[in-house]
């Protein structure tokens, strides 16, 4: 027991295991107010919806307590970062506690909206019961349960960040892993054909995957370093630098690409004219060149947007200017901002192209060959998982090194 108490790493890993167990248990608690079997059948019509859930820790095949997953958390975070880009003073100076309260409120609102939407999709399967003010009590209860579920899992994510290993990202792993086989075989209901597996095919896919993992790990670590000069520090120790990652957007474009792509379908599901439905089905499907091109464009656009949101050139240039630091050769202020933005665009372009090709190429090839399309989703998931795990490994490395200081021996690397 003392071994566990003393070993920081072991403690964190155990905590994360506990969190994951709780999460998995929660995923199995079905909503008591719904006719499950019928709801499952109903939800199959909205299969495009599944992928969004998979990449954000939820699942929509069966309505359970934790169905909505972490999407509100992630969306809330992104919204806050996007708002920061506007560089409004009131927001810049928000103290941390107010900031996190605002974030939680955003999560609550988004979670509520998503809960409403899910229950609406399966409204016909709600078990009949009492009525209040014209609304079914079971409807209200279902929504409330879903909201409670998602807020609970958001809290779990916070706990994992503080006491466990891997933070938010790691909690997405189980649903990512479990969704991958299904997605591989059936696609995402966006028009890609299913795959037929032969041993030969599986072997090829495995090899390609492994190569792919290595290239992704390598690209994930690639970064361009802008040298920063700091007049206020007089040590000739290590130069300071501002890293701009090639994958500046991380894997977030892939997490949200499908959800953006299905927005038209989604709006249409609320009851639109037949011709609109046809239009959407035609051009927002991955079984033709228009849809595929659109999808690739979305990934590219999201990539650039997220890259800027993560780097925030304006804020950096401002803070450099204020602290007296500068990038050699560039006047502090606007000139520096333009330079940083330029660097972000060029460097992240490589990363974004990588992302687009990884998920676009299989789709394009899939228009002409069999058994290729769904690889796009496989690669997307792999990229997401690699970036998450990279973070976790970094964290572990740091934790390990902090426990092993010894003045009489060099440290084993």
């Amino acid at each position: 027991m003392t071994a566990i108490k003393n070993n920081k790493i072991l403690r964190r890993v155990l905590f994360t295991v506990l969190v994951l167990i709780v999460q998995e248990l929660g995923k199995a608690i079905v909503l008591p107010t719904i006719n499950i079997a019928d709801a499952q059948a109903s939800l199959r019509h909205y299969s495009f919806y599944q992928f969004l859930a998979a990449t954000t820790g939820g699942q929509f095949t069966t309505p359970t307590l934790l169905s909505i997953g972490l999407a509100p958390y992630m969306t809330g975070m992104i919204l806050l970062q996007a708002v920061r880009l506007l560089d409004i003073d009131a927001i810049n100076n928000m103290p941390k506690r107010v900031e996190s309260t605002v974030q939680r409120l955003a999560m609550l609102v988004i979670g509520f909206l998503q809960a409403l939407q899910l229950v609406y999709f399966i409204r016909k399967e709600i078990l009949p019961g009492k009525m209040i003010a014209g609304m079914s009590v079971n409807f209200i209860v279902s929504v409330l349960l879903l909201v409670a579920g998602t807020m609970f899992v958001c809290w779990l994510a916070d706990m994992n960040s503080e006491y466990g290993a891997g933070g938010l990202g790691f909690m997405l792993m189980p649903s990512l892993i479990s969704a991958t086989p299904r997605i591989l075989m059936q696609g995402q209901g966006l028009g890609t054909p299913g795959m037929i597996f032969t041993p030969k095919l599986i072997a090829i896919i495995a090899v390609v995957c492994i190569i792919f993992v290595f290239t992704t790990v390598w690209i994930n670590k690639a970064e361009r370093r802008l040298v920063i000069k700091r007049p206020m520090i007089s040590s000739d120790f290590e130069s300071s630098n501002l890293p701009i990652r090639v994958l500046a957007a991380g894997s977030m474009p892939l997490m949200f690409s499908t959800s953006v792509f299905i927005i038209p379908r989604y709006l249409v599901a609320y009851g639109a004219k037949g011709s609109t439905i046809e239009f959407v089905e035609k051009y927002f499907s991955l079984d033709n060149i228009y849809g595929v091109t659109g999808y690739c464009l979305i990934v590219l656009l999201l990539g650039s947007a997220f890259a800027f949101m993560n780097v925030q050139p304006e804020q950096i240039a401002k803070s450099l200017k204020k602290s007296g630091d500068y990038i050699a050769g560039f006047i502090p202020g606007d000139v520096t901002r333009k330079y940083i933005s330029h660097e972000v665009i060029t460097v992240s372009f490589i990363g974004n192209v990588y992302l687009t090709v990884s998920c676009g190429l299989p789709l394009i090839l899939g228009l002409y060959f069999d058994n290729v399309s769904n690889l796009s989703f496989l690669f997307s998931n792999v990229i997401i998982m690699v970036t998450i795990l990279d973070n976790v490994v970094d964290q572990f490395r740091a934790m390990y090194s902090s426990q092993h200081y010894d003045l009489l021996h060099p440290t084993k690397r």
């Binding site: 103290p95 206020m232 520090i233 890293p243 990652r245 007296g324 500068y326 202020g333 003045l407 060099p410």
Partner: protein, 787 residues
């Protein structure tokens, strides 16, 4: 909120308080000797295994009775309650004037029973000495030893070893921190002064643990090479034009060059590309000069005294002795004020107050204003905050703020109020935001012919005397916020009928707590009193923290008032602005403290290892094993760095092992591999060390020499590491922009830097052991000279 959980604890404390009070009758009957004997009894019990919690009731009753017999004051019920809270490791919020000094006697007595290790930390040396002397009589009467740990004046030297041998020590936070750092630079066990850190009761705990905890304690030394660019950079910057060549930020906390400014400077200097690598040193000096001239203000941030630049404590306007700005900033100030440039120094040892006080087994505190910061106490120090009800109800009248649009209007209003109040001979305490503002008000009052005192943090002893008189009829006292803390203001004859002491705040301070402390100076112990704060839209706190649109608002308001009689601004919006500005300032301070703490975590891990290693070396008699390892790895490191082993080997030996090395046969044989180079070097070093051992007279001397060699090598390497980490801390905050976790990167780099430090340590240790000289002194002792 925190209250609900503390409710259970409060019930327990009230019960204990009642038990203590119940013993009063019995203890009154005890003779002096019987009472004193209790101390012996308690000590025996503690030795047999009882804890202080077991004997708290009796011990407190003893101290309470002793207080009455020695000081003439018996602690009231609420003071006993406060004492109980303190003993159990809480912060007791006791309003000013409730008698905190007397309350402290009970827990200090109890915790001093186990021997040295009980500390009462107070705000300044004057208070430490005063209380140690006056209150100390009680402890001494009861059979404990007590002393002040810090000299009354700056020049007073205190014998640390003697001080820390006392059961109870009254000292300041900076003194105890410095002593800790210096202890860990000691050469031998005997030189170490401090012992256990068992119990600390911190007076004015919010000021010590929160306000001053923003700056870590740093010992500087090890001067660096001086640069001569400071003067020329200053001259150039003084010739620049504001808004044309440089700009100052809205909150006046930063400034920068514009594109035109850079061009102008390039023309002046006759160069192009000022921002290139080539001119980075010149540019660095220019940036420092710009900040010195535009952001730092004389008499607000620093003063010039005796041809030297002294930093000012922004809270209370006191001169900070021995503290200098880092990285050349101080020298830039000296150039600006045209005083001789002092040496640039490096940090040699540092610790944050948070980590210093976390080392105590039990921590507690008392103050008049803690509840507003309760969550920070809990998060950082695990200290719950509990309120103690006042002995008599508080009847002070606190007026809402009076706000003006400009500083000028506000100052006029303040002077008018002072004139009006003074005419009735009612005493006033006027608080200002800085030393220069104090001087301004003083001049204005002189012009009006009003006699007054100014407390500007020159001498704590004098201040205490002046403050004590501040409640007399006709007294007008001007002070910066921290001046005269710890001294009660008693009301003179007739003052209570006039409504008591009037406290005037001339601006809102950096956080609510300081404002509340000021208010608390009046209305103590149920006395009548009044407080009112003035504010203007020109105040420092508003300018530094208010949103951008404030500027426009101010201008419009001033324009609107033009030509009309000046009246205070009444709108709710204005009130909200002022409150928001203060909240923002508070939050900034808090996050500054939290992030400072996070970075010190890494330094703390390394520091703990180094200090523990030092202690082990000092205590171990047989150092053979350690020396073996050090030599081994030093040689491995050195040989790895060789590019031409055969040539460099000789060089290395002559410079690091033996100046007179002469053994050609060994060196002439060419080595074929790294391993053989290592072996050769190993043999040479081993021979050398044996030679030296034989040359020395005794084992004792040899061990002494070796121990010192290792310690000196470690200390020099560690000093560099501390300085590096200080710099790295500021540098790393930029890296979090790359989505890598800033704290992890800092830890990684700190670890790499630590590895390099280890290698330096090994190499110097070997060099020290091989080359240090023992120089006999005339008095028979032996001095060690290092290479």
């Amino acid at each position: 909120m925190s209250f609900n959980l503390n409710f259970i604890a409060l019930r327990k404390y009230r019960k204990i308080t009642q038990q203590v009070l119940n013993l009063e009758a019995d203890y009154k009957k005890l003779s002096d000797n019987q009472l004193k004997d209790n101390t012996r009894r308690f000590r025996e019990q503690l030795q047999k295994g009882a804890t202080t919690d077991d004997i708290v009731v009796e011990a407190f009753a003893t101290a309470r009775e002793a207080d009455f017999r020695i000081l003439g004051m018996r602690p009231f019920e609420n003071q006993v309650l406060g004492a109980v809270m303190i003993h159990f490791g809480n912060v007791a919020e006791m309003k000013t004037g409730e008698g905190k000094t007397l309350t402290a006697t009970m827990p200090m007595y109890l915790n001093g029973l186990a021997g040295p290790g009980a500390f009462l930390i107070t705000a300044n040396p004057y208070l430490a000495n005063r209380d140690a002397e006056e209150i100390g009589k009680v402890y001494e009467w009861l059979g404990e030893t007590v002393t002040a740990g810090v000299g009354l004046n700056d020049d007073d030297k205190v014998d640390g070893k003697v001080v820390y041998g006392h059961d109870i020590v009254y000292t300041t936070n900076s003194q105890i921190g410095f002593d800790y750092l210096i202890d860990n630079l000691a050469d031998s066990e005997d030189d170490r002064k401090q012992r256990e850190f068992r119990f600390a009761l911190i007076d004015e705990v919010d000021s010590v643990l929160l306000d001053t905890a923003q700056t870590p304690l740093v010992i500087s030394g090890a001067p660096k090479v001086q640069s001569n660019l400071f003067m020329s950079a200053d001259k150039l910057v003084k010739s620049l034009v504001e808004n044309h060549d440089y700009e100052i930020s809205e909150d006046t906390k930063s400034s920068w060059f514009t594109a035109t400014g850079i061009e102008d400077m390039e023309t002046y200097l006759g160069i192009s590309e000022l921002l290139s690598e080539q001119w980075s040193d010149m540019y660095r000096h220019l940036v420092l000069a710009l900040r010195a001239n535009t952001i730092m203000h004389i008499n607000r941030d620093y003063v010039v005294d005796n041809n030297e630049v002294y930093l000012l404590d922004t809270d209370n306007g006191r001169e900070l002795e021995g503290m200098k700005l880092e990285a050349g900033m101080h020298q830039a100030l000296e150039a600006k004020e045209d005083v001789p440039l002092s040496d640039q120094t490096r940090s040699m040892a540092s610790i944050t107050y948070q980590n210093l006080f976390k080392m105590f087994t039990k921590l507690s505190g008392m103050t008049g204003t803690a509840l507003t910061a309760a969550h920070e106490f809990m998060e950082t120090y695990n200290l719950p905050v509990l309120p103690v009800p006042t002995h008599k109800p508080n009847i002070r009248i606190d007026h809402p703020d009076i706000i003006y649009s400009t500083m000028e209007n506000k100052i006029n209003a303040v002077i008018d109020l002072i004139k009006e109040t003074h005419a009735k001979k009612r005493p006033m305490l006027v608080e200002t935001g800085s030393v220069s503002l104090s001087r301004l008000y003083s001049r204005l009052l002189l012009r009006e012919g009003i006699v007054h005192n100014v407390l500007n943090a020159q001498s704590a002893a004098k201040e205490a005397l002046i403050v004590a008189e501040a409640g007399q009829p006709g007294a007008v006292t001007i002070a910066t916020s921290m001046a005269g803390r710890g001294t009660d203001i008693k009301l003179g004859p007739g003052v209570a009928e006039m409504g008591g002491l009037l406290v005037i705040g001339t601006e809102r301070m950096d956080n609510q707590r300081i404002d509340d402390q000021l208010r608390g100076r009046s209305g103590r112990q149920g006395d009548p009193g009044e407080s009112v704060f003035f504010a203007s839209l020109d105040d420092k706190i508003v300018i530094e923290n208010a949103p951008d649109w404030m500027d426009d608002f101010r201008r419009k308001t001033v324009a609107r008032e033009a030509g009309q009689k000046v009246v205070p601004l009444k709108s709710r919006r204005v009130r909200k602005i002022i409150n928001r500005a203060q909240k923002d300032a508070e939050n900034n301070s808090e996050s500054g403290r939290t992030s400072g703490m996070e970075y010190d975590e890494v330094l703390k891990t390394q520091r703990d290892i180094v200090y523990a290693f030092r202690n082990k070396i000092m205590k171990t008699d047989q150092l053979d094993q350690q020396i073996q390892l050090v030599v081994n790895y030093a040689i491995k490191t050195v040989t790895k760095e060789f590019t031409e082993p055969n040539k460099e080997l000789t060089e290395y030996v002559i410079n690091n092992v033996d100046y007179n090395y002469f053994n050609n046969t060994v060196l002439q044989k060419r080595s074929s591999s790294i391993a053989s180079v290592e072996d050769k070097l190993n043999a040479i070093v081993k021979t050398r060390l044996e030679q030296r051992t034989q040359a020395l007279q005794s084992d004792f001397q040899m061990n002494y020499l070796r121990r010192l060699s290792i310690l000196k090598a470690l200390d020099t390497a560690w000093v560099d590491q501390v300085d590096n980490l200080q710099q790295l801390k500021s540098a790393i905050s930029n890296r979090s922009a790359g989505m890598h976790n800033g704290a992890y990167e800092y830890e990684r780099d700190a670890k790499r830097s630590f590895e390099r430090m280890k290698q330096t340590f090994w190499k110097s240790a070997v060099k020290n052991m091989c080359l240090s000289e023992l120089v006999p002194q005339s008095d028979g002792s032996v001095k060690v000279e290092f290479p």
